[in-house]
């Protein structure tokens, strides 16, 4: 009685809805060049993800010896020989820029290479499919079993299979979350703590979150993530150009498609037929369940599996392979016009991307190699900004924060330039007799000093004069400076 028909549907009933109810995809197993590339890349990606936290790196006593570590409590990020402080988040910005430029470059060369081979969503979904196939069988079997289960034919065997599949999925998901937290603490210790239930609650919470997201995204959402949730297909569609190589059905070679028998008959009659035998293998293997022969489409993650599927068909019928392959429309048009194919990996767009990547990379490397291992920040006291002393002299107070990013303790001197005869006094420091008191900063530490600057009584000063704090490493001569002002009451 409450049957609902929206006015918009009445008017535009012919248009496709914005969101189609999901059709379960049952991709068939396939083997071939691209499948084996995908297996290898999967092994590499998962291997890096799961094993990297266990790689050790000797940084000396007291420093963590994990090669890649995000040390949140101490606010440090370690990446092999690099150690970043929170002040240096711009390196991460740089990395993000590099990542997007690489993505653009990949896109200009070969379309959604990222989506098809490297994206975590693809890698984990692929792994989940492998598990599913192992337990429930290949495409036909899975479809048959699902149909039977939908009809209420739930057998013990079916229950066992489903339970086994979900258990293994959950285990993989749990390991995914488990590996994630290992990046935030000493991995071997944390593994031991996790096994003995001694680990911090936060670790369990994060493992829980990642277990859940992995299980849901790779087990249930699958291609839906690529089609409806991920922004990259939309962005890449806007970034791509006619020269980019995409997984393409070469309709110039495939059409007119028809069955092998019919094709022979038609050929005998002198009609032109294509190589596609309409076996629908390319659709059966597609993890997003689309027909690549309909041309380039948003749902295609360009995993290349349909290439493998079609190649094996072509082999069987004795035709050259790559009826589906990495190609572009320009070549299709050229072949149809009888011209030779051309490929242009080097063109202004790709040159620009490579140049940008090299440029940003070089800037980052330069910044990394020449970055200051000694740093100083100065904060002027606000209340009061200046004090008049009994002999008429003026004094200003500052909070000076010294950063020693070196792995050794260092002795530095605190000097101030800008006003003649300025006296520097560091509270709690006994080398205050000199005009450049020296201070010791522990390795990999910050030191906060309270520094008083006193001008001579009879000197004439502006309301505000610039001063420069000059911190000098006694050992290496390295200098860090900071500007501030000296004000009068």
């Amino acid at each position: 009685m409450n049957k609902l028909t929206r006015p918009s549907e009445l008017e535009k009933a012919t248009e496709a809805p914005l969101y189609a109810a999901r059709k379960q995809v049952y991709p068939q197993s396939v083997s071939g060049t691209f499948r084996s590339i995908k297996w290898r890349l999967m092994a590499v990606c998962l291997g890096i993800y799961y094993l990297l936290p266990f790689v050790r790196w000797d940084r000396g006593i007291g420093a963590p010896n994990q090669a890649v570590l995000i040390d949140l409590p101490n606010r440090r990020f370690y990446f092999f020989f690099i150690e970043l402080w929170p002040q240096e988040v711009y390196y991460f910005t740089g990395l993000l820029i590099l990542a997007s430029l690489s993505l653009f470059l990949m896109n200009a060369l070969g379309g959604r290479i990222w989506c098809g081979y490297l994206c975590p969503q693809t890698v984990w979904t692929d792994l989940y499919y492998a598990v599913e196939r192992l337990i429930e069988g290949d495409r036909r079997e899975r479809m048959r079993k699902a149909a039977k289960a939908a009809d209420g034919g739930v057998t013990l065997q079916r229950m066992y299979e489903v339970t086994a599949k979900h258990s293994i999925w959950l285990m993989i998901a749990w390991w995914t979350g488990g590996a994630w937290v290992l990046y935030f603490d000493d991995a071997p210790t944390l593994v031991r703590e996790l096994l003995t239930f001694q680990a911090p609650v936060l670790a369990y919470i994060w493992i829980g979150i990642l277990t859940f997201t992995t299980y849901v995204l790779a087990g249930f959402m699958r291609e839906q993530v690529c089609v409806y949730m991920c922004p990259w297909p939309r962005i890449q569609a806007a970034l791509t150009d006619e020269w980019a190589l995409n997984v393409t059905y070469k309709y110039d070679r495939g059409e007119k498609r028809t069955s092998l028998k019919k094709a022979a008959e038609l050929r005998a009659l002198g009609e032109r037929v294509g190589d596609c035998v309409d076996c629908r293998q390319c659709i059966a293997v597609c993890p997003t369940g689309i027909d690549i022969r309909n041309g380039p489409q948003l749902d295609c993650i360009q995993c290349g599996l349909c290439i493998d599927a079609c190649d094996s068909v072509m082999e069987k019928i004795g035709r050259p392979n790559r009826l589906i392959g990495y190609d572009n429309d320009i070549n299709i048009q050229r072949r149809m016009a009888g011209q030779p194919e051309i490929y242009r990996p080097v063109r202004p767009r790709t040159i620009a991307y490579v140049a940008l990547i090299a440029g940003v990379g070089a800037v980052m490397l330069y910044a990394l190699l020449t970055r200051h291992l000694l740093d100083v920040n100065v904060l002027h006291d606000r209340n009061p900004v200046a004090v008049r002393l009994s002999d008429g002299a003026v004094r200003n107070a500052y909070t000076v924060r010294l950063l020693n990013k070196h792995s050794t303790e260092r002795t530095v001197t605190v000097g101030v330039d800008g006003i003649p005869g300025l006296k520097v006094h560091v509270i709690g420091n006994d080398s205050n007799g000199s005009d450049r008191p020296s201070v010791v900063i522990g390795k990999d530490q910050t030191e906060e000093l309270r520094v008083l600057l006193t001008a001579e009584p009879d000197i004439r000063l502006d309301a505000s004069s610039p001063v420069i704090f000059r911190i000098t490493d006694v050992g290496s001569g390295e200098i860090a400076t900071a500007r501030d002002n000296f004000v009068t009451p």
Partner: protein, 290 residues
């Protein structure tokens, strides 16, 4: 609900059968996910009532099965904090105040604790940054009525000045005018003399010799023959550039006429010993310490 199943001609949706002035209500139910979310929040709320303190009663409130109370959880946090700081605070309690500044970590701790205590207790008079005000000394400068060594500062904080505590600093500036010791014109003369001690200009035609004599007879006992003051008595140095109550002639005359006797309370009974120590370190490190 009526069993009215009229279908609206324009939208094709059934109506609820309600009509006001010819306007009919369409029956467009909420999406299921929306309703489920709504029900879930209701169940959540009921669970919340059971688990956490929720309902006010005539005397008190339902305490919830978890027995949670925000006051108790704050108390736990505070206890943990004390435990965390325990070792350092124990050192702070026993170490002589003069040695604290030699250990950077201890100095930082004492300064932090002192700063917080200063904000709570001292800032109302001395200002949040200890810049002081008229009658309330600036603790950043180097002029100290009762001494600026760290031990002296601590003593002043502990017992105060003219606070009534047995160990408090004592010493009053007498009311020379009000008590009839000096005549008004003598006060003007000695006021000008005092101003001249710190290099301030004097009134034209004032009798320097007479001022000097009045000073020697009445003021030198506390402020010293040279006017440099006496910290034992809290008598300020009159030759420097810092004037607690102001240096203009009228103010100086008022001071001599009515006397001064600012009160600093004793904190010994209100703050614990480590806090007083931390306060002394903080004030000393403001820069005025000697």
């Amino acid at each position: 609900m009526s069993d009215h199943t009229e279908i609206d001609a324009v939208s094709g949706t059934s109506t609820t059968g309600h009509e006001w002035d010819g306007i009919k209500e369409l029956n467009t139910p909420l999406p299921r996910w929306w309703l489920l979310t709504f029900y879930a929040t209701i169940i959540w709320a009921v669970g919340y009532w059971v688990v956490y303190p929720a309902w006010p009663m005539i005397s008190g409130y339902t305490s919830g099965v978890l027995g949670y109370s925000s006051r108790a959880s704050v108390a736990v946090d505070l206890a943990n904090l004390e435990k965390l700081r325990g070792a350092k605070m124990a050192v702070l309690a026993t170490i002589p105040v003069g040695d604290i500044e030699k250990d950077p970590a201890l100095l930082a701790l004492a300064r932090a604790r002192g700063k917080a205590a200063f904000g709570d207790n001292c800032a109302p008079c001395h200002g949040t940054g200890a810049a002081g005000a008229k009658g309330f000394p600036n603790l950043n400068d180097d002029d100290w009525l009762w001494g600026g060594k760290i031990e002296q500062i601590m003593q002043t904080i502990e017992f105060g000045a003219r606070s009534g505590h047995a160990k408090a600093h004592e010493g009053n500036m007498l009311a020379f005018g009000k008590d009839g010791v000096l005549k008004p014109d003598e006060i003007v003369t000695v006021a000008n003399y005092v101003r001249s001690l710190s290099g301030l200009p004097t009134r034209q035609g004032y009798d320097k010799a007479k001022g000097e004599k009045i000073f020697a007879d009445n003021c030198a006992a506390c402020h010293g023959a040279d006017g440099k003051g006496n910290q034992e008595l809290g008598a300020p140095n009159l030759t420097d550039k810092i004037w607690l109550y102001g240096s203009d002639e009228a103010t100086v005359i008022e001071t001599i006429t009515n006397g001064r006797g600012g009160v600093m309370p004793s904190w010994a009974s209100r703050l614990d010993a480590p806090t007083i120590k931390a306060l002394a370190v903080y004030v000393h490190s403001l820069g005025g310490g000697k």
